[in-house]
Symmetry: C2
Subunit: 723 residues, 2 copies
């Protein structure tokens, strides 16, 4: 180790906020120092040392064995600072909120299982006697087929496509609102006990990159005279006058690069999704040429395509994280806080598009541009656009969702969060062993804490942890109508995630600087944005992707006896086989009798109508019903959310009572002091009575800061808030 290691001992050192911190940071940037970090409280696994907080945290929190326990939030805050404390409090609340939604999700799923035998449409589809002859799924090599052969998928899709999911998605929208409201309350409570209510965003120092850029600009602008000026008052540079700011004009190239790169990367994501579609279409076509592989084309193609999607998502996720950081650096934001906010926004946008675009494709676009028998839509000269399975796209959406969600969680948890750190540690160890010259042999037996901590990974911020959870929150809320088991999987993941993160912080990372923040910042806005978006996305999944509305319309509008008997027949249009284009007929049909009409899933006029194959009246009636459902669902759920938001006060009653009481005490105190002052000073002071009254009326305003003492006493005392 060529350079010294600066060790910051103060727990409350808020990294870079004070001048000292800023100077250390620039020394690290200079490579004068190699690292600066607060020390851990000794070893986490040394037994019998009860004053060691790190060990206490390890024993009570950072092990999988204690997964059932509440988190010791106050201790976490004490050891790691408020910012990390808030993260774990948030994660804890989110995980505990997943419990009720998991239970209801499982009930909805079980309801689907229980009613599977009573579902008339899937019974009709499975009926061998009354089989419908369907039009071939590909040109030439595919034969006509019996709808009863899709019996399995029909039954499976009933598991998720039943009326209970409608109620579940309304429930989940309200759940999201409740969660956010409760988080606000918990944040208030923690803020009160941790004495955070008074902190406002402090004026932060400019980032070094910003200052450099400003200096460059000034150099360019005013020539050498400025250089001299700079030479003399380099240190007074912090009091900026109007000249030395980056204006919109200076930033324009940066913004342009940002805008262009983000557009490019979104386009890249879309084209990869499109590429996977092309892969699916071509592979399906190729496989169905070969007789031996024809039977399980769909399974093979779907499975491989989803895996490709998953791999692409995981790889791009890492790339986009790096790109977002690079782009934010180009933008040269002024303060550390704006840097973080812009980085998060960009990274979120890119990762959101990356994770969800294949799912959005399956949910809303797949199978809608197929055309119809006799006039299919072809891409790349001869490949038909892909359709959904006969059970509807909802089943496929469900498969896609579950694989991507589970795969992402498992792989990211195992590889990126467990594997990579282990590898890094190994690599570090190997490196240390190859250059052993500088390590003292006396130290190696009883190494100092700073040496021990130096071998740990540096802490790099909470952004990846939050991002992972937010993307998961999206999986749980955005498409819950198609996959009611999502909350269960999220819950299982998070029970592990909490301890995994805890272990990482306690055992594998250098102790982070304690940072005081009042809230979780921009993440809350992103969460609430996802919550709002989930309302419209679920409305569309139920209305457009699922068969819920067509069934309702059939049952109450077309059915003769008010049941779903005949629904399957109603959803299938007729096609006159003689109108198939030359060369697209099945080559060697195995059907016994001559097929005259084949059926396909759409609402179109029959061949004998005056305007054959146009969309039928049913099509438009059902479309109207679908859209009406979207409007009603969206407005109803939004209204309920506002109601929930309004009914749950943001500040818990006990806290607001407490604050009021403390204010009252403070006012009394000030009044008394004022009175005593009056007594001391004589008659000449009589005129200052007015001033005294004024300060009385303003006294409550200074309460938040004055209140800090009782607050911090309460938090360091016995009152531990468990989450």
């Amino acid at each position: 180790m060529a350079a010294a290691v600066a060790v910051a001992e103060s727990l409350q050192c808020s990294g870079g906020d004070e001048d000292g911190g800023a100077r250390i940071n620039s020394l690290i940037a200079n490579n004068t120092y190699e690292a600066a970090y607060p020390l851990h409280d000794g070893e986490y696994d040394s037994p019998g040392d009860d004053t060691n907080d790190r060990q206490l945290l390890y024993r009570e929190w950072a092990r999988y064995g204690v997964f059932y326990k509440f988190q010791p939030i106050d201790l976490i805050r004490k050891y790691f600072g408020e910012k990390i404390g808030l993260y774990f409090a948030w994660l804890g609340l989110y995980t505990s909120f997943l419990i009720p939604s998991s239970v209801i999700g499982v009930i909805v799923f079980l309801y689907g299982c229980a009613t599977i035998e009573e579902d008339i449409p899937s019974k009709e589809m499975c009926d061998q006697q009354n089989a419908f002859t369907m039009c071939p799924l590909c040109d030439k090599s595919c034969d006509y087929w019996n709808l009863s052969s899709a019996c399995g998928t029909a039954k499976a899709s009933h598991l998720f496509d039943n009326p209970a999911t409608v109620f579940f998605s309304i429930f989940m929208a309200l759940w999201a609102t409740m969660f956010l409201e409760n988080w606000k309350r918990l944040q208030m409570r923690l803020g009160y006990f941790w004495d955070l209510t008074g902190i406002e965003e402090e004026e932060e120092h400019s980032r070094p990159e910003y200052e450099t850029k400003v200096r460059e600009k000034m150099l360019k602008a005013s020539g050498k005279s400025v250089v001299q000026k700079l030479g003399t008052n380099m240190t007074e540079n912090e009091e900026e006058d109007d000249e030395d700011k980056l204006t919109w004009k200076d930033r324009f190239p940066g913004y342009l690069v940002n805008f262009a790169s983000i557009l490019f990367m979104i386009a890249l994501t879309f084209s990869i999704v499109f590429g996977v579609i092309v892969y699916r279409i071509t592979t399906a076509a190729a496989l169905s040429l070969n007789k031996s592989t024809r039977s399980n084309v769909r399974v093979t193609v779907t499975a491989t395509a989803v895996i490709i999607n998953l791999v692409v998502i995981l790889v791009l996720d890492e790339i986009y994280g790096a790109v977002a950081e690079w782009l934010t650096k180009i933008e040269v934001p002024k303060t550390e806080q704006t840097f973080e906010e812009r980085l998060i926004l960009k990274a979120f946008l890119l990762k959101f598009v990356n994770a969800y675009s294949p799912i959005f494709y399956v949910a809303f676009f797949k199978g809608r541009f197929v055309g119809r028998p006799g006039s299919y839509v072809y891409v790349f000269d001869g490949y038909r656009m892909e359709e959904c399975a006969p059970g509807g796209c909802l089943m496929e959406l469900c498969i896609q969702l579950s694989i991507i969600m589970l795969g992402k969680q498992l792989i990211q948890n195992n590889i990126f969060e467990i594997g990579v750190p282990k590898l890094k540690k190994l690599f570090r160890k190997l490196k240390d062993e190859t250059e052993p010259g500088e390590t003292d042999s006396t130290h190696s037996k009883h190494p100092e804490q700073w040496d021990l901590d130096y071998s740990l990974e540096p802490y790099t911020g909470l952004t990846p942890e939050y991002m992972e959870m937010i993307i998961q929150f999206g999986f749980v809320t955005l498409f819950v109508a198609s996959f009611p088991l999502a909350p269960v999987f999220a819950l299982l993941n998070n029970v592990i995630e909490v301890r995994l993160d805890a272990k990482k912080f306690v055992t594998e990372l250098r102790r982070p600087d304690a940072v005081r923040t009042k809230d979780i910042g921009i993440w809350f806005d992103i969460l609430s944005g996802i919550g709002k978006f989930s309302v419209i996305s679920n409305a569309f999944v139920i209305a457009i992707t699922s068969d819920f509305i067509p069934r309702l319309v059939y049952q109450y509008g077309y059915s003769h006896n008010g049941t779903l008997h005949g629904f399957v027949n109603h959803t299938l249009s007729f096609f006159n086989v003689s109108q198939l284009k030359e060369g697209t007929q099945p080559e060697n049909s195995q059907f016994d009798q001559e097929v005259q009409f084949c059926r396909f899933k759409d609402y179109r006029e029959p061949p004998w109508a005056p305007n054959p194959y146009e969309f039928s009246k049913q099509y438009w009636a059902i479309l109207s019903a679908r859209l009406a459902f979207v409007i009603i669902f969206q407005n109803l759920v939004m209204f309920l959310s506002v109601l929930v938001d309004w009914m749950i006060p943001d500040i818990p009653t006990d806290i607001s009572d407490q604050i009021k009481k403390e204010k009252g005490l403070l006012v009394d105190f000030f009044l008394k002091e004022e009175h005593e002052k009056l007594k001391l000073t004589d008659e000449p002071a009589q005129r200052s009575l007015g001033g005294g009254q004024r300060s009385t009326s303003r006294a409550p305003s200074s309460a938040p800061s004055g209140r800090s003492q009782p607050g911090s006493i309460a938090s360091s005392g016995s009152q531990h808030t468990n989450v």
Copy 2:
């Protein structure tokens, strides 16, 4: 005057907040005092007295002659206190925001006027050669008629039913968001200059009614022992223990009465609206029996019905105001603030339903339950449900809106705000003259200010003023798609309203107690609620009430040459006259040739179709388009509003810079003080260095209160914020 008149001189006396105020209030309630009010600054019309703020206000603000001037907001605040200052600042901002929307509204209207000759559908309707024979509008006595006879209304409705109104309603939704955002900023700015940032809701004393109720409860609960206890510590009652609170159980009857009464009154409003409908139907039927009145049935009926509606609205408005107050008293809210909030919410709900239900009826329900020729819907045994005029319901909606809005404004301004106070004053004068015994003859020549002020009306709060403006805001935003001139009328009204209110406050009311508030309270929530509701209401007006969507669908879906030629024919269905029910045929038709088919406005299958008179495919296609428009419009506008909200920072940059600067000064000051302390105390104090650092890091939190001095200096100085 039997009782004395208490005169409060302190400007900052916040009515009822301090013990003195509370006691005076209870003395007034006891009838020991007759009234208590701060004094006016002398006469408003005595010339040449420049130190008299009242006179300055009168000269510069409270006259119609100065309507073009900005309001002297700081002077208003100085004279009337912050609460009234905020009201006039809000009113001023609202009025100035109405200017751009008026301009664009007029442009949209002029666009309608300019394109009236080019509008193909109305040209087709007016074409005498190509006339459509329409089905009779009533049974028996009405004849078939030519569509060209409705040429006038068709042209008139084009004025409001053109594509420009779509853009105008998007603009108005964004306008509402911009207005609210800018109000937030202005409120922040005023709050800064008026030193309001630090005020939090102070703990208010319970209302006397609440205390009485609690006492009654305690008496009942614990018998006589409690009475004795009460007798001794009546004054210590403010420190309530858990027993003496009104619980949910105690309040239940009150809530029940509230709920039932509100439901009853809403039902009453609806039934009155229904009554007016019945009036319209029956009168129309009666008038059309008589040949001489038949020609102008529609005009007569519509005009009288709207006037009835208007009178009902005005009368019920007053009644509902009183009822809301009575209901809130029954509820026994604990503090004055909750009382005000609940009163406002109730009054708003009732007045909103009252003012808008006839308009909602015309916009969304009128003409939708008519049935079709041959199977009309009848009410009350023989009366057909009313239809809209051939030009569409939008025209009627526009008439309804303009008459109710203008009538309400003119009558309320003239009668309730000018006439009634004058009458009251007259009445007061007469009463004083009849009992002249007690007025001193010496005083009558140079009367004291309190005597002069006693003859003025007492101040009763800002609720009616706000309520009037909020209901107007509703007229301006909710149906702006059908009546783009609404902002102009609102602007004209408000230019007068500002001076009218000003005059009232300066010349006709006793000077109100100055009350400090940070914001306009619940009114902001109501405004933002109306803004959100206006998005969906405008979406439905454009989609359902206007002909915008059917025209688009026709132009791009059905038209042969991409123009609107043939649109009128497309909207009219055929009816076979021979299928008219027995006894409903026109008695003596004046049509020359035999009528075989008559036309009616609807999308139904023709008589020669296999399923005659069912809704046609066009009907469902157009319905889908209408609903799709609602979804797109709502989500687009909501998204844009969020964007606007996000782009305009809530705190103006100069204010936040100023706050930051002041914080910095404060931190420096504290640091210096801390340093000096350290210098004074010697080595033993070295250990308190940590404490010093802590107070540094917490110093900014106490800034809002510490900042007050510079703020108040700035505001009382030259910096007048004009609105």
